[in-house]
């Protein structure tokens, strides 16, 4: 069973198929079909339940923080209050910039360091993390089981499975799977409307695929191929969470590497990079296009990070292109009332 998400997805799929015969621009268009695990196929009941949980501050120990605090639809599914590093439980500052939730359904790894493979594996981590929602699951599950409204909604969504850690993760993951990109000006361009983006953005697209080599990592409809790189944001020895995927296993190739983020709706989610150290897309394009922030003394620096000798004009063109990847916000009724 495949759930098709909204009219926009259907339009994209139809137009993409009609394009294949003339020009292969279909790789840039979001597939209407959202990947779903066999044991958690999407249903309206699961999605609605997951949405309530996602926005409910009672899932945090302080009852002030929800998933949406750091992954809010009004900020491109990133921090509601833009900060370089996520601010969670009682003002605690986390070790990394909040990654966006947009299109995570299509990713094969989750988190900046890829330590979870699925949204179900990912969903409970931030709830328990002391600098995020700081809520032990052995406290949360009984608490939610004490809310009759939630017990009833879990029974509707997951009949006979109960309100458990597993069904909590499944419900939140189900909602997150519906957080997908809408049709941007670039999508219209890719569908054949050649004046949908400016000439400057079109030049940027050519640079993106050509001289600048952005496509080497920011490939496919999500403008990320899911690859991991140390792009040289810091020199010398790395500490703690800066070690990236190396924390999951001490593999030499994983020292300091982080997952390539999507560029869709990037204009909404500044600041950028895993450490939030770039405030603008111009800065990002300059760093990525010209060999990284640090050229030397970067251990395991990605061989993809080559100085492409981009001019200011070329960087500006690339940014115009990336700006064309921003679509309208997806339609969403943010809940204001929660189960009692």
């Amino acid at each position: 069973m495949i759930l098709r998400l909204g009219l926009s997805g259907i339009i994209v799929a139809m137009m993409a198929s009609s394009l294949v015969a003339t020009e292969d621009m279909s790789k840039w268009l979001r597939p209407a079909e959202v990947p779903q695990p066999a044991d958690n196929k999407l249903t309206p009941e699961k999605i609605e339940l997951g949405k309530l949980l996602y926005f409910d501050v009672r899932l945090s120990s302080s009852e002030k923080v929800s998933c949406a605090t750091c992954h809010h639809p009004k900020q491109g599914w990133s921090d509601l209050v833009p900060t370089p590093k996520a601010v969670g439980h009682e003002g605690a500052v986390g070790p990394r910039n909040s990654p966006v939730v947009l299109n995570t359904a299509y990713q094969n790894t989750q988190f900046w360091d890829g330590r979870a493979k699925t949204l179900e594996e990912q969903a409970l981590g931030p709830i328990e993390a002391d600098v995020e929602m700081n809520m032990p699951l052995d406290v949360l599950i009984p608490k939610l089981n004490g809310i009759k409204g939630y017990v009833a909604l879990f029974e509707k969504a997951y009949p006979g499975e109960g309100l458990t850690e597993a069904t909590l993760a499944k419900a939140i993951a189900s909602f997150e799977r519906t957080v997908v990109s809408t049709i941007s000006p670039f999508d219209k361009y890719a569908m054949g409307k050649k004046d949908a983006i400016s000439k400057k953005a079109q030049k940027g697209f050519e640079l993106f695929k050509g001289k600048a080599h952005c496509i080497d990592c920011h490939d496919g409809f999500n403008f990320s191929d899911g690859s991991f790189h140390n792009i040289g944001l810091k020199d010398g020895e790395l500490q703690g969470k800066e070690l990236g995927r190396y924390l999951t296993k001490r593999r030499a190739a994983w020292y300091g590497v982080m997952k390539t983020p999507t560029l869709r709706d990037a204009t909404k989610s500044a600041p950028y990079f895993h450490d939030g150290s770039a405030g603008t897309l111009h800065e990002v394009a300059h760093i990525c296009g010209n060999g990284g922030r640090y050229k030397h003394n970067v251990k395991n620096k990605s061989t993809f990070m080559i100085d492409r000798e981009l001019t200011k004009q070329e960087i500006s063109d690339i940014v115009s292109f990336v700006e064309s990847l921003t679509g309208p916000d997806m339609k969403l009724d943010i809940p204001t009332k929660f189960p009692q």
Binding site: N108, D225, G226, R251, V257
Partner: protein, 101 residues
């Protein structure tokens, strides 16, 4: 004479194992599944214009090719029977399944 050459090739293959080329192209392993014999060699090519890597954590066949530059070939001998996955440390979407008999 032809029979001698064929016999020699068979003998050579039996002694040194066969070679199986795995290309890394378009951010995929080609082929993505292969059946080999213990003692055979996997030859990893890189036809992409950027680096790749191949590793497995299978205890009996553990290897890691490191950063493999475009155009380079790296040969890995299959040591033990079993089914194991090979991944790229850079591109987690790349997956090769090796069945060694």
């Amino acid at each position: 004479m032809k029979k001698i050459i064929v016999a020699g090739l068979i003998l050579s293959s039996a002694l040194f194992g066969a070679e199986h080329v795995i290309d890394q192209k378009g951010k995929t392993f080609i082929p993505h599944a292969i059946t080999v014999a213990v003692g055979d060699t996997l030859v990893f090519k890189n036809s992409d214009p950027f680096a790749h890597n191949a590793f497995t954590d299978n205890a009996a066949n553990e290897f890691d090719t490191g950063m493999q530059a475009p155009g380079n070939d790296i040969s890995i001998k299959v040591k033990a029977a079993g089914v194991f996955n090979v991944e790229c440390a850079i591109h987690p979407n790349m997956l090769l399944t090796v069945t060694a008999k």
